[in-house]
């Protein structure tokens, strides 16, 4: 009897605690003020206008990125509304600021939010600051004010935080309209002082789109100029860059228009290389092992087979518009923007790549955030239900290795090992 009650309690507890909690930003149509949030819990969509339901008002025009900062705070950059919207994990509006216009992507160290902007002005605690090129703003989450800024390249896009530093991919994306060229650099900023440490020239133009981070590695997309310069992917080693190693990146001849970090530390990247000369484009669907790519200088570490039925499922999408892996559970997601005038779809796979479902969302579903299943953002949550026992070898950072290292600890089959 006791056992039964215990089981029952456990079942109730399990029911209360949703495992899959995904916030999805639907960009909507530009200048139509119809950016919407879809909230997905376990098997289904709870709401396709979550922000409106909770706050009885609209989110704004073209939400562009979402991150979790702490247990009770999430930031959303709402690009064309010039708003950074802060919400709690239950969707309640906590604060908002319009001090960072034309905001793009977000990063955090848990205390501050760092946001890139294509704009040339910023409202800070010290008054308005203007810039010739683009900039990064540092927002204090206690006051929601910009406390510092740093000018970087033209139209800075992706941003990542690693070991007290910010890594910013510059696009120069207005180059086809404005009087400057595309950018090719990754700017490194000291997050504390907000001083530029250095720019690393990747020799790839237009570093556009959300970048993915896996520990010390970044996966940065370069779509090229859509005419003469084809798309490429830059795998960037933040550790090496901080060490002053010039060989801190490897260029791959693939597009990573949409990328994300998988549970095993690899990048999942999909994209197409396109040129207006022929109007032809070449698709790629990849799993990139960044450690291996760096170690082999791009000679290895790329796997063109995806888990389960994912490859065929992705190829069947009308218009892939985003990929994501829940960092807590390993469940895989993609979005399909479909015909752009109709509702897009959220597609879910198990970590093994078994298609679990397709759910109707809203126009241009693009940006994801998984909430921690137990609500605790700060703790690393053990992976439940991931039974993949492979012979793969990983280092302590979770990067897959080809051969077990000698004299260094490594992980195989979930066990720490060392070989002398």
């Amino acid at each position: 009897m006791k056992k039964l009650i215990l089981l029952l309690l456990c079942a109730i507890a399990c029911n209360i605690q949703a495992q899959e909690r995904i916030i999805l930003l639907n960009e909507g149509n530009w200048q139509a003020d119809n950016g919407k949030i879809s909230y997905f819990e376990d098997g289904g969509i709870v709401s396709n206008q979550w922000f409106r339901d909770v706050n009885k008002r609209k989110l704004g025009d073209t939400p562009n990125d979402i991150i979790q900062i702490s247990n009770n705070l999430i930031a959303i950059s709402v690009n064309w509304s010039n708003i950074i919207q802060f919400i709690s994990p239950d969707g309640k509006s906590m604060a908002e600021t319009e001090d960072v216009p034309n905001n793009r992507k977000l990063a955090t160290d848990g205390r501050y939010v760092y946001v890139t902007s294509y704009g040339h002005e910023c409202g800070t605690v010290n008054g308005y600051v203007t810039f010739t090129k683009g900039y990064v703003a540092k927002i204090d989450i206690q006051t929601f004010k910009v406390v510092a800024t740093c000018e970087v390249g033209y139209e800075p896009e992706g941003i990542a935080y690693y070991k007290g530093h910010l890594f910013i991919a510059n696009t120069g994306g207005y180059a086809f309209q404005e009087d400057h060229e595309y950018e090719t650099t990754v700017s490194i900023i000291n997050a504390e002082t907000m001083q530029l440490v250095k720019d690393i020239d990747t020799e790839q133009i237009n570093l556009y789109g959300k970048l993915s981070q896996s520990g010390q590695y970044l996966c940065i997309n370069s779509p090229g100029d859509y005419y003469d310069i084809p798309a490429a992917t830059v795998i960037f080693d933040c550790e090496k860059a901080l060490d002053g190693d010039d060989d801190c990146f490897v260029v791959l001849e693939y597009a990573s228009t949409y990328s994300c970090t998988m549970l095993d530390g690899n990048f999942l990247a999909i994209g197409a290389r396109f040129t207006y000369y022929t109007n032809e484009y070449k698709f790629n669907y990849l799993v990139i092992n960044p450690g291996e790519v760096m170690a082999t200088d791009g000679g290895g570490g790329i796997d063109e087979s995806l888990p389960g039925t994912m490859l065929a499922d992705l190829q069947a999408l009308g218009m892939p518009y985003g990929v994501y892996v829940n960092p807590y559970t390993g469940y895989i997601y993609a979005t399909d923007a479909g015909s752009f005038a109709a509702a897009g779809a959220l597609i879910q796979w198990s970590p093994e790549g078994v298609l679990l479902g397709r759910h109707k969302v809203y126009i241009n579903p693009a940006h994801f955030l998984a909430l921690p299943p137990n609500g605790d953002f700060t703790k690393i949550v053990p992976i439940v239900g991931n039974n993949r026992q492979t012979g793969d070898i990983y280092d302590l950072r979770g990067v897959r290795l080809n051969t077990p290292p000698i004299g260094k600890p490594y992980i195989q089959g979930g066990k720490k090992m060392i070989r002398y």
């Binding site: 530009w30 139509a32 003020d33 989110l59 704004g60 319009e98 216009p101 396109f274 892939p320 015909s339």
Partner: protein
């Protein structure tokens, strides 16, 4: 100003009733509370208007859901073109110089007609007023939203020659208030960056079969964006646009030996467009400063042969040479040679009328742009129509197949153009009935048409799979069934003039693009209302005239994603009261207009609010 009362031209032209047409002319046209041609056309059955709001907003019309680029606009028989984007901003043409505005759903079917008049899905004819006496008139207008307008017209008529010079200057701040009220917002504000100022001067000269027109338009306007969530008014749209349009055209028509008719048309157009966001105060969006120059030379030769009164044969050749220059990156000059030939036959045998035409079009582009030119386009398209008239009652049927060629923007615009585009085809089938009744004081007409349209290979801009870019593509198939009906009644005595004009459009047009997509397949086309109707009543008593127009446009969806993504139906009432008084040889006039009497807040494009109730007061003096 005085206008001649209605002239019924129908009876003089035996080949006119085989296709569907609607006309507004003379005093009825001037009685509408309208400033531009677009406003007059919205009262026609089957017409949908697209308007980004305000005085300066782009105004285009769409007929029977074919799309704006399938509507050809002809000024005195010569097409107003835009090789760059294929649409004509009807806001640039004033109604005050027009005598007649007509919509023909297939072809106009004059005996002697240029090939390009056969080359659009629907045709709008603007006919310039031909002066019948010497006069000078000036107008001054003050209207809501800090709008000022001044207009002058000098006309003459002598020895068979006639002509006028018409000039207008308008300045409007256009900062009208708007309100969005729903469950999720209560947004009030004033439209900003919505100002416009323009000057227009045009002159015409006529003699018999000769007509000529010279036109110059110069404008500067703000380009307001959609109303989106903002925390304050700190960030506003800064985009501004300048247009400088010039054209000169001439046409000469001559009939000889009763059975031969020849027409020559020539036109030169020079259009300059500048769009700029490159201002010091623009800290937040791309700083663009682009210039576009289009030049267009056009010539047409038409010949009609009427061996017997019941048969007419014609052949026409049109040539148009367009050049587009722009300082876009990755762009270079584009040249287009567009040639059209048509062969047409018309007959009228004891009330049985028939017409058939076969049009050949050939497009050839040359460009230095690195993407290269599109392959030449060479197509034949037919149109046929038949009608039978008995005692004022006409039954008619027509079919027309036509395409629109991809525009130069569609093919070559930087980071969007696609030179592999195919033409967008429309196929229209129509059955109609028309009845006329005339008596000395009364006249009435009824007209009803049912139609079916198919549009294939729609040219649309879509994002490219797996990239962040957009490109023009052939995507989409539309199937449309509808009913257009108009009923008009007029009564006049010496003192009284009464007109009642009504129109009704019922339409069922659906998306037939992708049978596997249950969210969109067989669903209504976005922005297309199922039902719309208009009623215009004009009451004239001596020098006093009151006209009221009512327009209803039903619900339109604007996306398939959410049942809430609809534009609400709207009712629009415009009213106009005019009084004129003669003092000696001068005629004084005063006119008060109230537009959107009910102050309804409505939109044609989501988040682009239209102005609510507004007033215009006009004083005029004629000599």
């Amino acid at each position: 100003m005085q206008y001649l009362s209605e002239i019924i031209i129908t009876s003089k032209q035996p080949f006119r009733t085989t296709t569907t047409s609607q006309t507004l002319q003379g005093c009825e046209l001037q009685a509408l509370s309208t400033t531009s041609v677009a406003d007059a056309l919205k009262y026609f059955a089957g017409v949908q208007i697209k308007d980004y709001g305000g005085l300066g907003g782009l105004k285009t019309i769409n007929v029977r859901s074919l799309g704006a680029q399938h509507v050809g606009i002809y000024l005195d028989g010569i097409r107003i073109t835009n090789a760059q984007n294929g649409t004509v901003d009807l806001g640039k043409f004033s109604l005050s110089t027009m005598d007649r505005v007509s919509l023909y759903n297939a072809n106009k079917l004059d005996k002697c007609q240029s090939a390009s008049e056969y080359a659009s899905g629907a045709t709008v004819y603007l006919r310039t007023r031909r002066p019948t006496k010497d006069s000078l008139s000036v107008q001054l207008r003050r209207a809501s939203f800090t709008t000022w307008m001044a207009k002058a017209n000098a006309q003459f008529e002598r020895n068979g020659w006639s002509g006028f010079i018409d000039a207008e200057w308008t300045d409007s701040r256009g900062d009208y208030p708007f309100r969005y009220h729903s469950e999720y917002e209560d947004t009030v504000g004033r439209r900003s960056n919505s100002d416009i100022r323009y000057g227009r001067i045009e002159g015409v000269l006529f003699k018999g079969g000769f007509s000529s027109h010279i036109y110059y338009y110069d404008s500067e306007r703000g380009c307001p964006g959609g109303i989106v969530r903002r925390l304050s008014d700190k960030y506003v749209n800064v985009g501004r646009e300048w247009n400088r349009d010039f054209f000169i055209q001439a046409s000469y028509q001559k009939q000889f030996m009763e059975c031969h008719q020849v027409k020559l048309n020539a036109k030169y157009t020079n259009e300059h467009l500048r769009y700029c966001t490159d201002y010091p105060e623009n800290h937040n969006t791309a700083r663009v400063n682009n210039h576009y120059l289009q030049q267009d030379g056009y010539g047409a030769l038409c010949y009609a042969f009427t061996p017997w009164p019941w048969l007419s044969l014609s052949a026409s050749y049109d040539v148009r040479y367009s050049k587009l220059e722009a300082d876009l990156k990755k762009f270079d000059d584009v040249f287009r040679l567009d040639q059209k030939q048509v062969m047409a036959v018309q007959t009228n045998w004891h009330g049985l009328q028939a017409a058939a035409s076969l049009l050949h079009q050939h497009y050839h582009d040359v460009t230095f742009a690195h993407v290269g030119a599109a392959a030449p386009l060479d197509r034949w398209t037919p149109a046929i129509s038949a009608a039978y008239t008995l005692k004022g009652l006409t039954l008619r049927a027509w079919y027309k197949k036509i395409f629109r060629a991809p525009t130069l923007n569609d093919l070559y615009y930087t980071q969007a153009g696609n030179r592999n585009l195919k033409p967008e085809y429309t196929k229209q089938l129509n059955l109609g009935i028309e009845y006329h009744f005339d008596s000395p004081h009364w006249n009435a007409s009824l007209q009803a048409d049912v139609y079916q349209n198919k549009i294939e290979n729609r040219i649309v801009c879509l994002p490219l799979k797996g990239t962040y870019t957009w490109s023009m593509m052939n995507y989409g198939y539309t199937f449309c069934q509808g009913l257009n009906a108009t009923a008009q009644g007029r009564y006049h005595t010496n003192d009284w003039q009464l007109s009642l004009l009504t129109s009704l459009t019922w339409q069922h047009d659906v998306n037939r693009t992708d049978p596997d997509d249950e969210d969109t397949y067989d669903k209504p086309i976005c922005y297309s209302p199922t039902l719309s109707s208009g009623v215009t009543a004009i009451i004239g008593w001596r020098n006093l005239q009151l006209s009221t127009s009512y327009l209803y446009v039903g619900e339109r969806m604007w996306s398939y994603a959410d049942p809430e993504d609809v534009l609400k139906p709207y009712h629009n009432i415009d009213t106009k009261l005019t009084y004129s008084h003669n003092i000696g040889k001068t005629q004084w006039g005063i006119c008060l207009e109230v537009c959107d009497l009910l102050d309804e807040q409505y939109e044609h494009i989501p988040r682009y609010p239209m102005p609510g109730r507004n007033y215009k007061l006009t004083l005029s003096l004629g000599l």
